[in-house]
Amino acid sequence: MMKSANAILAGLTLLGLASWVQAGALAADAETTFKFYCAQCHGLGGKGDGPNVTKNFPVSPRNFTNAKEMNKLSDADIKNVVLDGGPAASKSPMMPPWGKTLTGPQVDGLVKHLRKLCKCKGKQG
């Protein structure tokens, strides 16, 4: 009885460890995705200061570390803009539509990464 309880505990620990490792890997993937695609305009740290943003850049890319602004958006709002571009939210076409480039899990990962950058949960519901 004791032996099987120990085995179950060990199994659960391993399972927990595996999902923790997987979550870590996904977070790392999201950061890689962000740095590869988004940082060109939004900057590596998400402050809206990527190398494309010179004095002639027609708009100010969103600063993802601004919790006040980011809290106005729900996760679904962010996802829509990533997939369909700025005009989907009446914003600038300078924000590209990434719907034919990124996979579903990549987009979900990006939403989580942006929440990490703003340290905010966003508009609920």
Partner: protein, 221 residues
């Protein structure tokens, strides 16, 4: 009559001996290897990159379809006197392009040009796109889509160019790029660059509009 023929043959022989040696793709391939060009550029297609990490490992652009992508005259001159095409260092968002691409001497440049122009892709159909200042192409490129966010392009007024820094410049694209490749790249980007930081526009833009954009970009001086 015989004298005239002899004189004519003599002139022809002289002309032949004075003309430079014909460029040789096999010699170009040897030079490409010997100079270490392959350390940064791969020339055997199809595309190898599958992940972002694969793309970031590369030190320079792939050249396995160079003959379909570039214009021969431009490439020959560039190999002898390379000027930065990307404002930023390849695969970097923080470092500027140092402009330190190695130069090739005249004969080597001609041979390497011949070798690179022999590398073609069956997915680039010839004669589809002719440069054209199409109003629709301009509208999509400058207003409706975010092309100018990442690519420099020729400006009309005082400034020489406008546009962003993360992509290759499109100033001079009309001399550098094969117009048919621009369209093929927009239409089937994953054949050429399966992992790239430029959005895929196929499926977002209509085929006709990708042609309009390619025609417009092909006019850039």
């Amino acid at each position: 009559m015989r004298m005239a023929l002899k004189a004519l043959l003599g002139v022809a022989a002289l002309a032949l001996s004075a003309s430079p040696a014909l460029a040789d793709p096999a010699a170009g391939k040897k030079t490409f290897t010997a100079k270490g060009c392959g350390d940064c550029h791969y020339t055997d297609g199809p595309a190898k990159e599958k992940t972002i990490a694969d793309q970031l490992t590369k030190k320079g652009p792939e050249l396995w379809y160079a003959g379909s992508k570039f214009q021969k005259k431009w490439l020959g001159a560039w190999l002898e006197d390379p000027k930065p095409i990307r404002p930023m260092k390849f695969n970097s968002l923080t470092e500027k392009n140092p402009g330190d691409h190695p130069k090739l001497a005249g004969g080597d440049a001609k041979n390497v040009n011949e070798f690179l122009m022999s590398l073609v892709s069956k997915d680039v159909k010839a004669g589809v796109i002719k440069p054209k200042k199409a109003a629709k192409g301009r509208l999509i490129f400058t207003k409706k889509m975010p092309c100018t966010g990442c690519h420099q392009y020729p400006a009309k007024k005082r400034a020489k160019y406008k546009g962003g820094n993360s992509g290759p410049t499109l100033v001079g694209a009309g001399k550098r790029l094969n117009p048919d490749w621009i369209y093929a790249y927009l239409k089937t980007p994953k054949i050429f660059k399966p992992v790239k930081s430029m959005p895929v526009f196929a499926g977002i833009l209509k085929d006709k509009d990708m042609k309009n954009v390619a025609q417009f970009v092909a006019t850039f001086k």
